[in-house]
Amino acid sequence: MLAKRIIPCLDVKDGRVVKGVNFVNLRDAGDPVELAEIYDREGADELVFLDISASHEGRETMVDVVRKTAGEISIPFTVGGGIRTVEDMKRMLRAGADKIGINTAAVVNPQLVADGSRWFGAQCIVVAIDGRWNAQWNDWEVYTHGGRTPTGIHVVQWAQEVERLGAGELLLTSMDADGTKDGFDIAMTAAVSKVTGIPVIASGGAGKKEHFADVFTQAGADAGLAATIFHYKEISIAEVKADARAKGVPIR
């Protein structure tokens, strides 16, 4: 049976790992390649690198990080952040990334999803969606630019649209849950997972080991992603896996 995946996320700026709490207050937590190796050894099923470098030089550094990481670890990893063109995707894939995450660029230019999927295969294209509850709509709204810009697009519709365009996976972050440590956004994750035929990675809100089993069993997520709790060793991947396994969730 296909195992549910536990995925640590590393935010990388200018070649160093940082983590934003609610997307601000960055703290430095080390060398990305070293951390990636540690997570591989600890049983992470996959990794996500999010490049938040603002400069051209910073993004160049990311290509090196990807190349070094690909040579060291034996699990797949996704690279996102600052990817705007098929050429950007190609550089990261050539450097050794398994999948490419696109977020704002997909909203600005949906054709990028289709083109990436056509060139590299759907399995390489992860569309990241940052969603927040919109009380007026009584529905979730897609945000871009690191959660700063509301788009007027509904999350569930957008998920279906990018699937149609050729996305192979969704990385769904709840801005409401992110940083709270109160658990993943079960309602939003379930709403998306129910209507899409591609895997969904739930992100934002993990604070306890139980939260992962919850999002797998209650929301139908295929993977759970977290950063802070793993980086600061508040919870180990082994603990998360043991808890989920004990609850009957298929785990590697």
Partner: protein, 210 residues
Amino acid sequence: MIVVVDYGMGNLHSVTQALKKIGAEPVVSDDPTLLAQATAIVLPGVGAFGDAMNNLREQGWIEPLKAAANSGKPFLGICLGMQLLGDTSEEHATPEEGDHAGLGIIPGKVVRFTHELKIPHMGWNELVWADPQQPLVQGIEEGHVYFVHSYHFVATEQTDVLATCDYGHPVTAMIGRGTVYGMQFHPEKSGDLGKQLLERFVALSAEIKF
């Protein structure tokens, strides 16, 4: 010398690094004439079946690959590279042209998943050996490996299937016929088990005289 076939389909960096790490000496090459000197061949691949066959054809790989496989040279197809070993694929097939033809080295067809489960079949799934005494898997413990695919291999002869995993139904995870093998998953992305299977392929290759 293990030749890793570079025909413009996907990243070869990871599989090359994985081979180096286990002490093999992979040479990434876009030159089909090099196959004559190879002690083993690795055919990786990510992307669409039709594009892959077109690239192989345009770059002059098809006949040398078939000849090498038929001569008993150890051969490993990975992911799309395994699917290419089959006879046909219905991936992006058109009503006019029908299914794409494959290399036809191991009889079988590549078909799309038709069940209700999520596609791609993406993530870690558990291998089940068809025959635990088969030399490629003998003494290696069954476990999880990393899959990413939307089409799967249906072998004509069940005896060519070396391992399966369960995704709605048994899915062909490894095939083998003579010295030609295929892995639907990515051994280079599959932790210790993937490493053990690659090591075994390299070890078997070293023993084979052709």
